[in-house]
C-alpha cells in the first residue's frame, strides 16, 4: 500500500541503510585482513592461542550447562507454585540482570563473592579455612550464571505455563509421580525452549568481554575477546589481534549457524501466575524443595544487586556528584547514547520500511536479496563482536590518538550496531500492524511521501520507535566493549570511568558510580519496557552481555 515513488524511496533507503551497516562492518574487517598476521605464528604463540580458544569454549559451555541446568528445575518449581506471595516480583527481579551493565554487576558480585565478601565470611563461620576465590574460571562462571540463569528461566517458564490446566488435573487423578510427570509432561513442554535458551546463553558467554576482563585474573582465564583487546592495548601486536579476530568470527559464525536450527522462544513478560492451580503439587512440608530452590535463586540474583545499592549508598555520593570528571563522563555517555540511538532507530526504520516495501512486490530476486540482507543485518552485527569491530577501526585510526570526533563516531556506530537487532525486533511488527491499519486510508486520502511519514506513519509508530530509542540509549550507556579500546583521558564515559576506578581500587568511588550507572540504565530499561508494553511491541529478550 505504498505508491510507486514511495516504493522507490523505501528501496533507496534500505540500500542506504545496508550500505552504512556494510561499511561499518566491512571497513574494520578489511583493515584487519590487510594488516595480515605479521611475522607468522610461532609454535608457543600457536599453543597459547589454542589454549585461549579452548578456554573460551570451555567457560561458555560450563556457563551454559550451569545456567540452563539450574533454570530447568527453577522454571519447573515456579510453574508448580503459581500463586505464592511475591512471585510476580521475583519474575520481574529475574529481568533485572538483563538490563544491568556487566561492570556494575561485576562490582556487586565482588562484594558478595570476593575474598572479603559475604559468601566467604559465611564460609569462615562454618570453619572453612581456604577462602573461595572469585578470580579465574569460578568467578567467570558465577557472573555468567548470574546473568543467564534468570534469562533462561524466563525463557523456559512460559512453555510450562501454557500447558492446559487439564493436564495437571489428569496427572493428579492418575496419581502420576514426579518423575513420570516430568518425563511425560513437563520436559516435552520445556525441551524446545531449554535448547534455544542454551544456544543463546552459549553465544552470549562465548562473546562475553567485560566480565572476563574484570574477573578473569590472568592468562589462564582469558577469552578470545579479551585477548584481542590485550594484543592491541597490552602488546601492540596487530598481527595477533587479526588472527584472534578471525578465530572469534569463525567461532561466532559456527555458533550462529547452530542457533539457526533452534528458534528463540518468547520471554515471560508478566506471566499469568495464579491463573492455574496445580492439584498435582503437594503442599505443606513437601513443598520445601521448590521453596528452597526458588528462594536460593532469588537470593543469588538479588544479593549482588543489594550489594551494589548498599555499598553505593555508603559511598560519598555528594562528592562524586560534584566531581567535574563525573559530569564530563556522564555528558559524553549521554551524547554517545543519544547519537547511537538515533543511528540505530534510523537504520532500523529504513530497513523495516524497505522490507515492507519488498514484501508488497514479491518476485524480484534483487529486491528479495535486499529484504534478506536487511533481515540478516541484525544478526551480522552479532557475528562481528564490538571488540573486533573496535579493533579494526582502532588500527585504521592509529589508536585514535589526538583525535576526538573520529573515535567518538566509531563508538557511536558500534553501539548503534549492537542495539540494531533489538530495535528492529521492536519496530518491525509494529510497522507491519500500522501499515495494515492505515495503509489504504493514507492512499485514499492522497497523503504520500514525506507528508505521509510525518503525519501518519511516525505518529502511529511513536511508541515502538521510542521504545527502541530508549533501549538503545540504555544499552549504549552501559557498554564497555566499544569504549575499552578508545577510552583515554580525553574520551571518558561512565563505564570507562567506573572501570578505571575499579582498577585503581578506589572502591568507594566505584561503588557510588556503579549505583548511579546501574540506576540510570535500569530506569531507562523500565521506561523502554513500559513503552513497549503499551504499544504491544515484542519484549526485549536476549540483550547482549557486554
Amino acid at each position: 500500500m505504498l505508491t510507486r515513488s514511495e516504493h522507490r524511496a523505501s528501496t533507496a533507503g534500505g540500500v542506504a541503510a545496508l550500505a552504512v551497516i556494510g561499511l561499518a562492518l566491512a571497513v574494520p574487517v578489511m583493515v584487519l585482513l590487510s594488516q595480515g598476521t605479521g611475522t607468522g605464528v610461532s609454535a608457543s604463540q600457536g599453543a597459547y592461542i589454542a589454549r585461549i580458544t579452548w578456554f573460551t569454549l570451555l567457560q561458555a559451555g560450563l556457563s551454559t550447562l550451569l545456567s540452563v541446568g539450574f533454570a530447568v528445575p527453577l522454571a519447573r518449581a515456579l510453574a508448580r507454585r503459581p500463586s505464592f506471595r511475591g512471585r510476580r516480583w521475583l519474575i520481574s527481579l529475574f529481568a533485572v540482570p538483563l538490563g544491568l551493565p556487566p561492570l556494575v554487576a561485576a562490582l556487586g558480585l565482588l562484594e558478595v563473592w570476593g575474598r572479603n565478601g559475604v559468601a566467604n565470611r559465611g564460609l569462615a563461620l562454618f570453619g572453612v579455612e581456604t577462602p573461595f576465590s572469585i578470580y579465574g574460571l569460578s568467578g567467570i562462571l558465577i557472573a555468567h550464571v548470574f546473568f543467564n540463569l534468570p534469562l533462561a528461566a524466563r525463557l523456559i517458564l512460559p512453555g510450562l505455563e501454557r500447558l492446559p490446566p487439564e493436564y495437571w488435573k489428569t496427572a493428579a487423578n492418575l496419581g502420576m509421580g514426579g518423575l513420570s510427570l516430568f518425563r511425560l509432561v513437563e520436559w516435552p513442554a520445556m525441551r524446545r525452549s531449554a535448547g534455544a535458551a542454551g544456544g543463546l546463553v552459549f553465544m552470549l558467554c562465548a562473546t562475553s568481554f567485560t566480565l572476563v576482563l574484570v574477573l578473569g585474573g590472568g592468562p589462564a582465564a582469558t577469552t578470545l575477546e579479551v585477548a584481542i583487546y590485550q594484543s592491541l592495548r597490552f602488546d601492540f601486536d596487530p598481527g595477533r589481534a587479526v588472527l584472534l579476530s578471525a578465530i572469534q568470527i569463525g567461532l561466532t559464525l559456527a555458533v550462529m549457524l547452530g542457533l539457526r536450527l533452534i528458534s528463540l522462544p518468547t520471554e515471560a513478560g508478566d506471566t499469568k501466575g495464579g491463573a492455574t492451580s496445580r492439584p498435582d503439587v503437594a503442599r505443606g512440608w513437601r513443598s520445601l524443595p521448590d521453596v528452597a530452590l526458588i528462594g536460593a535463586a532469588g537470593v543469588f540474583v538479588a544479593a549482588p544487586l543489594v550489594a551494589v545499592v548498599v555499598s553505593g549508598l555508603a559511598a560519598d555520593l555528594a562528592r562524586l556528584l560534584t566531581d567535574a570528571l563525573f559530569w564530563r563522563a556522564a555528558a559524553t555517555s549521554l551524547a554517545i547514547g543519544l547519537a547511537a540511538a538515533c543511528v540505530a532507530v534510523s537504520l532500523a526504520g529504513l530497513m523495516v520500511r524497505a522490507r515492507f516495501s519488498v514484501g508488497e512486490r514479491p518476485g524480484s530476486p534483487g529486491l528479495g536479496l535486499l529484504s534478506g540482507l536487511a533481515a540478516a543485518a541484525g544478526s551480522l552485527t552479532l557475528l562481528v563482536p564490538p571488540v573486533v569491530l573496535g579493533a579494526g577501526w582502532f588500527l585504521m585510526l592509529g589508536g585514535g590518538a589526538g583525535q576526538l570526533l573520529a573515535p567518538l563516531s566509531v563508538i557511536v556506530l558500534i553501539n548503534a550496531l549492537m542495539a540494531l537487532p533489538f530495535v528492529m525486533r521492536v519496530i518491525e511488527p509494529a510497522h507491519q500492524g500500522a501499515m495494515e491499519r492505515n495503509g489504504r486510508l493514507a492512499l485514499s486520502l492522497g497523503i504520500t511521501g514525506i507528508n505521509r511519514i510525518r503525519q501518519i506513519d511516525v505518529p502511529a509508530l511513536l511508541a515502538p520507535l521510542a521504545t527502541g530509542f530508549v533501549f538503545a540509549v540504555a544499552l549504549s550507556l552501559g557498554d564497555l566493549g566499544a569504549i575499552a579500546l578508545f577510552g583515554s583521558d580525553r574520551i571518558v564515559t561512565l563505564p570507562w570511568l567506573l572501570y578505571q576506578k575499579l582498577g585503581s581500587y578506589r572502591t568507594a568511588d566505584a561503588a557510588g558510580l556503579a549505583l548511579l550507572l546501574g540506576a540510570a540504565t535500569m530506569a531507562l530499561m523500565i521506561v523502554a519496557d513500559r513503552l513497549g508494553n503499551r504499544s504491544g511491541a515484542a519484549p526485549l529478550a536476549g540483550r547482549q552481555l557486554r
Binding site: Y48, G217, R233
Partner: protein, 336 residues
C-alpha cells in the same frame, strides 16, 4: 501536529556532542606517567604545585595503568602524542624506547643523579630506584618465603597478586627476576608459581589495592613499600620478604619526546626533576629511593627496610632482544 517538534529536537540530539574542556594557560606541559604517580596520594599533585610555581606554566599529568603500557601508548600514537615528557619507564625498557625513534637526547648535565650501578644515559634520566620484593601480610603469613624458590614452590593456597609484564614495569621486573634466577627453567618455575597467583593485574595500583584490602596475603611490590605503612599508617603489619638469591633492581627514568610541543619547557621539567623540589616528594609519596639529593631526612622507617646483598639487572639491550620471546614463554606457562 504539535508532536512534530519532536523531529528537529531528535535531530539536534543526533549531532554528536563533542565536549572537551579547553585549558587556559600560556604554556602547557603534558607529562605521560603511570597512574599511581598522579593519584591524589602520589607525588604528582605536590610536584605539580612546586613546578608550576617556578615555570609559570600549566603542568598536565596523563596517567596510564603502568610503565610498559606507557611505551605501548607511545608506539600506538607514533609521534602524535601531545606530551613533552614521559616519566615512568625503567632501564629495562630504555633500548626499546630508543628504538622507536620517538625520544631525543635531553642534553642536560646529569651529575646530580646517583643510582646503584651508576646508570647514566644521554636520552633517559633516572628519577628514582628501588628493589622489587614480595610484600606479605604478617597477620596471615607466619613463615614468609625466604627465597624465590620458596615462593615458587610454596603452598598454592597462599595467594599472591602480580602484575602483567605486558603492561606493568613491576610485572616485567618479576619476569626478569625469575629469568635471572631460573634461566632456561623459567617456564616451569612460572607454571609452578601460577598456582599461587590469585590474579594478574594490568598495573601496580590494582595489585596493591587488592593486597591491602585483604584479597591476597602477598603482592609483588618494592622493598620500600613497608615504609609507607610504617610512616603513613603507623603499622608494621606489612613486611618485605628478603630472598636469598637476591633482588631485581628497578631504576625508573624519564625522557624527552622528539615531538614535544615545547621542548624548552620539557627540558626545564627534566632539570627540575633532578633537584630537591622534585626528589623530596619521592621517598614519602612514590615510596621509592630518590635518585638525586634531597633536602629532607628520610623517615626512620627507611633504615629498617630489607637491603638486598645481591642485586640483578639485565642490560637494556638484553631485555630489548628477548622481551617478546620471554613474554611469550610467560604467557605459555601461565595459561597452562
Amino acid at each position: 501536529m504539535r508532536r512534530f517538534h519532536i523531529i528537529p529536537v531528535a535531530l539536534l540530539a543526533c549531532l554528536p556532542l563533542a565536549a572537551g574542556p579547553a585549558a587556559s594557560a600560556d604554556k602547557t606541559l603534558t607529562v605521560y606517567t603511570y597512574e599511581s604517580f598522579v593519584s591524589e596520594w602520589g607525588p604528582g599533585p605536590k610536584i605539580e604545585a612546586t613546578f608550576e610555581a617556578q615555570c609559570g606554566c600549566d603542568l598536565k599529568w596523563v596517567g596510564v595503568s603502568d610503565g610498559v603500557a606507557l611505551l605501548n601508548r607511545l608506539k600506538l600514537e607514533s609521534g602524535r602524542s601531545e606530551a613533552g615528557v614521559v616519566l615512568g619507564l625503567d632501564t629495562n625498557l630504555v633500548s626499546e624506547a630508543k628504538a622507536t625513534g620517538l625520544f631525543e637526547p635531553h642534553g642536560l648535565p646529569t651529575d646530580a643523579v646517583s643510582v646503584p650501578g651508576g646508570y647514566s644515559d644521554e636520552v633517559f634520566i633516572p628519577y628514582d630506584y628501588g628493589h622489587f620484593a614480595v610484600i606479605y601480610d604478617t597477620e596471615t603469613i607466619a613463615n614468609p618465603p625466604t627465597s624465590l624458590k620458596d615462593l615458587v614452590e610454596g603452598d598454592p593456597n597462599q595467594k599472591i597478586v602480580i602484575q602483567d609484564p605486558r603492561t606493568s614495569t613491576p610485572g616485567l621486573g618479576l619476569l626478569l627476576w625469575v629469568k635471572s634466577v631460573y634461566g632456561d627453567d623459567a617456564a616451569s618455575a612460572w607454571e609452578s608459581l601460577s598456582k599461587r597467583v590469585l590474579t594478574v593485574t594490568p598495573g601496580w595500583s590494582e595489585a596493591y589495592g587488592l593486597f591491602t584490602s585483604g584479597e591476597a596475603p602477598m603482592v609483588l611490590s618494592y622493598t620500600t613499600s613497608p615504609a609507607y605503612h610504617m610512616v603513613a599508617e603507623d603499622t608494621k603489619r606489612y613486611q618485605a620478604a628478603e630472598f636469598s638469591e637476591g633482588h631485581y633492581l628497578q631504576i625508573e627514568v624519564a625522557g624527552l619526546l622528539a615531538n614535544a610541543p615545547d621542548k624548552e619547557l620539557a627540558r626545564q621539567f627534566l632539570a627540575f626533576m633532578m633537584t630537591p623540589g622534585f626528589q623530596d616528594e619521592i621517598p614519602t609519596n612514590n615510596w621509592m629511593m630518590p635518585a638525586a639529593a634531597v633536602s629532607i631526612d628520610l623517615p626512620e622507617a627507611f633504615s629498617t627496610l630489607v637491603s638486598p646483598e645481591k642485586t640483578f639487572l639485565y642490560s637494556s639491550d638484553d631485555v630489548a632482544a628477548n622481551r617478546a620471546a620471554w613474554i611469550e614463554e610467560w604467557l605459555g606457562a601461565m595459561s597452562r
